[in-house]
């Protein structure tokens, strides 16, 4: 199997991070797509809240205004509104908050499309092959069949848990946050690379 040279891969991967922003209008992040699928019920909740707001807009606005007045008092509320160039709202109809989010099913499409992309790459380069292991290196380190599959289930769980806890993965922190020098992404990327290197050396050491 002939892989792309480093610069060709770099151009493709960097361009993808850019294309994603241009086409979707948000930063690329695959672990976020998994989270959206896991939390699919949240989409419905947001929709129900928006619908409820839409149906009872004046009531909602008055309730919000009353809560704001109770919290800050009339004078402070007027000051805050004036600072934003607004006046105290009367009993006008409020607009419902716009739902700008991506539907969770689109995230599902995203993940399914990656399966298809892998398939197309494998078919077109002639290395498509149905097999039940991850190759010679993986079986040498972690065994075959059920042993290997259990290792994959457990380490996959670490990937799912860790990326959600760390708020991102190789794409979200690495390809999106690091280019923008986001401090949390720089730390996260340094940490997961360091951890992966240490784990790899440790596993090799155990085998020898």
């Amino acid at each position: 199997m002939e892989y792309w040279s480093w610069w060709k891969g770099a151009l493709a991967l960097g361009a993808l991070s850019v294309i994603f922003v241009l086409m979707i209008g948000r930063m690329l992040g695959v672990s976020g797509s998994w989270a959206n699928i896991i939390n699919w019920r949240d989409d419905r909740k947001r929709q129900q809240t928006a619908d409820a707001f839409q149906a009872n807009a004046p009531v909602m606005q008055n309730a919000l205004l009353a809560a704001t007045l109770a919290e800050f008092g009339e004078q402070k509320t007027q000051q805050m509104l004036a600072a934003q160039g607004m006046s105290m709202p009367a009993q006008t109809a409020a607009r419902a908050p716009a739902l700008t989010g991506i539907n969770w099913t689109a995230h599902l499409t995203f993940l399914a499309a990656m399966v298809l992309g892998g398939f197309l790459a494998a078919i077109s380069s002639g290395h498509f092959e149905l097999r039940l292991d991850l190759g010679a290196t993986h079986t040498r380190l972690f065994g075959e069949e059920w042993r290997e599959w259990l290792v994959l289930l457990a380490s996959g769980t670490l990937v799912g848990f860790g990326t959600q806890m760390g708020g991102g993965c190789t794409s979200g922190h690495g390809l999106s946050g690091v280019p923008r020098l986001s401090p949390s992404s720089l730390i996260a990327t340094a940490m997961f690379f360091a951890s992966a290197v240490a784990t790899s050396f440790f596993v090799e050491g155990l085998i020898k």
Binding site: G9, V21, I38, T109, L111, A113, L134, L152, G156, S200
Partner: protein, 140 residues
């Protein structure tokens, strides 16, 4: 950017296919290539990643206006979460997109990795609700 549901599906599908295709050709889906990278025996994919960051950095910082906010706040989960992810990546050979691309290539064992990722993400949600209150600002 406000996208209709059909646009969302179409655009995510297109980027997903391109991404799966590229990741496969780069070799990120091959456990042996990845293992060699983490042991510093073969630096090709390390350069690939670093180069991709440079390409994205040039576009994001100099060529594109009106970028979406990165929304990645600092929180106490970043360091432990990333350390856990790194260990999982080295053992499974998969970050969240790779298991799916591997499935497309016919590496069927990755179905266990994918279920693991799903379970791990679900598990974190339960743990987060119960014990932590910080904002992870998870992307997407």
């Amino acid at each position: 950017m406000k996208l209709t549901l059909a646009q969302q599906h179409l655009r995510y599908a297109l980027v997903g296919i391109l991404m799966g295709f590229a990741l496969s050709h780069i070799g990120f889906t091959s456990y042996s290539e990845l293992h060699k990278m983490f042991l510093f025996q073969d630096l090709r994919m390390l350069f690939t990643f670093a180069g991709a960051v440079m390409v994205a950095a040039i576009f994001f910082n100099f060529l594109m206006a009106g970028m979406p906010s990165s929304k990645k706040p600092m929180h106490p989960g970043i360091i432990p979460g990333s350390l856990i992810f790194g260990a999982g990546w080295a053992i499974s050979g998969s970050c969240p997109s790779i298991a799916l691309v591997q499935l497309g290539e016919g590496q069927l064992a990755a179905v266990f990795t994918a279920f693991g990722i799903l379970f791990g993400a679900w598990l974190y949600r339960q743990v987060h609700r119960r014990f932590f209150r910080w904002d992870t600002g998870s992307c997407g």
